[in-house]
Symmetry: C2
């Protein structure tokens, strides 16, 4: 990762310079991300060579290598930070174990994109679209779109199986792995059940904040921050108190992460998010920010928002209307405030946890990075 | 499993009576199948209670319990037989480990049914159709068919994750599990890659026998007989020679199993298969029997078969035409002969392997059961 990318990853509020330790953090983060990417790349290439290339699937193999190269590695970084909370020092096997989270995340993204019929991911065509194009290029009969979706589901299966294999073969001790597995299994089930809950939401009704926060917690918050952190900490043998405090930090920062994600899904800049602005409105996603607007808007604005949601298609004008209601109702500001509250709560939890100062500092900076990001 | 079901499972050539040991085999098999079902039922119910019910997904939970109750448990039986080849005696943990194959199989079936748009499975509506009906019943907005497919993919994910958890928590020793994992991972990847190969076959062209046998080996043969057998044997610590011979037995019986499956897919009786007769023709499946007919038929019959495949829809008349070409070309008889050759080859391998006589006898009877079955 070069300096420019690091600066982007840190967002405008964390310039990555100055003498308050932020330069050191930026350097640590860039180094950790680069190591994660290196381990993931090495593992995926080896599996592709062993399993996909001999069967003549070089394009799906290349797709699988490309896809994992573009992530921000947040889950892996939290996993490794969980490990560092144990006070047992730096460890390449633990970093490799943490890096396996990128493969689990790739599984979830590729599969979700099929279900949500998303066209773009990480600034390029979604996996199912690339696979559909491959089907067309090869001149195969039948529906290319249908093939693309099925092939993407199979690519996701491979990521899911490989993720676990990478964790198992990471080199951490058997005892560490034994502590990890029950949590790992729960996390994976939670992910599937969370997605099922998301799909079961009535798309034409503006969701309640409670319902949305619950799904957000299970589907993304937990598995972005809390579960990776707990997994790493469990592997390092952290005691019950530390586990409980990290769970609390993870829960609130996971929620704040999701709140930021939801704000970006509505107001984000396409040049940094890699997605069209207002995409979540166009796709009628049940997000926290929409639920907040529904709760806070006056009667006429609320009616306009609900009408928009019940309609057939949400066009540019509809997106603009939703954005205006969200801003005018104070929902945008409230979401920002909820993020701020959670970052503060996390800071308080860290103060209580009594971890190594450098780990505490890094966890706090990661909380800021996750919640102030622009993509 | 009651006596009538046992008789059906054994097929017309194995009445399950007489003094040649077949009654004893039938009893052993029924007992093993019942134990497998018991373990699977217990495990799935516990997971549903922990993971699905609290989130309000009682119907998907019930579906997951129902689905695994209807299988023939062939994979689990082979897995347990592999264990018994090690000469380390009966073991409830090993049986539980073997039974986890039912969950992996459920994963593959539920997912394949979505991709193949199959309507019926094990004599009832396919999982995605039941989930679509649930969506409609709940009055949710959006496409019920699309929801059913996405929800079925998530149910399949849960089966995949639970399968491995059941194996890990089966109670076999850590050393036995360590021997199992690399094979287990390969098997799961092979399954996904085999399905990808199947999807990549040009649906409108009659396939070559070589290509079809290759897919059949990877997609179904290996994971029905060979891999479960090897997994069980690896867990029991069998030596290299036994592993190699079991691999050979598993490969040929897996192929014969698939050949029988392909014959049933074209000529099977709907009352025993639970599927309409000629279903594989209607769905234009690239099967060994079709490839054989293409190879053996005279020029005019071959042309008729290829035309049929290239057409838009294959109706009842088309199914009858394909059946006639397959029979008249001698493909049906050749497939029967290929099955017979493979059973004989397997018998020869068993003679060389020098296992416990009761295990040898059971493996031979399983070979007959898999290749003479009517469903």
């Amino acid at each position: 990762m070069d300096a420019e990318q690091t600066a982007i990853a840190l967002g405008p509020h964390e310039p990555g310079t100055g003498d308050d330790g932020s330069a050191q953090f930026a350097q640590w983060l860039a180094h950790t991300q680069a190591s994660v990417r290196g381990h993931v790349d090495e593992f995926v290439r080896a599996r592709c060579t062993a399993e996909l290339d001999p069967a003549g699937f070089s394009l799906p193999a290349q797709l699988m290598i490309d896809f994992v190269s573009g992530g921000k590695c947040i889950r892996s970084v939290f996993g490794y930070l969980g490990w560092l909370c144990g006070g047992v020092g730096e460890s390449e096997p633990a970093l490799r174990a943490a890096a396996s989270a990128e493969l689990l995340h790739a599984f979830a993204l590729v599969q979700d994109d099929v279900m949500d019929e998303s066209q773009v991911r990480r600034g390029r065509q979604a996996a199912h679209r690339r696979l559909a194009a491959w089907h067309t290029d090869q001149g195969l009969s039948g529906s290319s779109a249908r093939f693309g979706e099925s092939a993407a589901i199979l690519v996701a299966d491979l990521y899911l199986v490989w993720a676990e294999r990478m964790l198992r073969e990471s080199g951490v001790t058997a005892a560490a792995l034994d502590r990890a597995w029950p949590r790992y299994d729960s996390m994976r089930s939670e992910l599937a059940v969370g997605q099922l809950a998301d799909l079961s939401n009535d798309a034409n009704r503006v969701p309640t904040l409670g319902a949305v926060m619950d799904i957000a917690r299970r589907k993304s918050g937990n598995y972005t921050v809390r579960r990776p952190l707990e997994l790493g900490a469990a592997m390092a043998g952290c005691d019950e108190t530390v586990m409980r405090l990290l769970g609390e930090y993870g829960e609130v920062i996971g929620e704040a992460f999701q709140l930021r994600d939801d704000l970006l899904g509505i107001f984000g800049d396409p040049t940094t998010t890699g997605k069209p602005t207002g995409d979540d409105v166009r796709e009628r996603k049940a997000t926290t920010v929409i639920a907040l607007a529904d709760q806070l808007a006056g009667p006429s604005d609320r009616a306009r928002l609900r009408d928009l949601w019940r309609g057939q298609v949400i066009d540019e004008q509809g997106v603009a209307l939703a954005q205006a209601v969200i801003t005018d109702s104070g929902a945008r500001q409230r979401a920002e405030q909820m993020i701020g509250d959670r970052v503060e709560h996390a800071r308080w939890v860290l103060d209580v946890a009594d971890l190594e100062p450098s780990v505490t500092d890094t966890l706090h900076r990661m909380a800021l990075l996750c919640t102030r990001r622009t993509h």
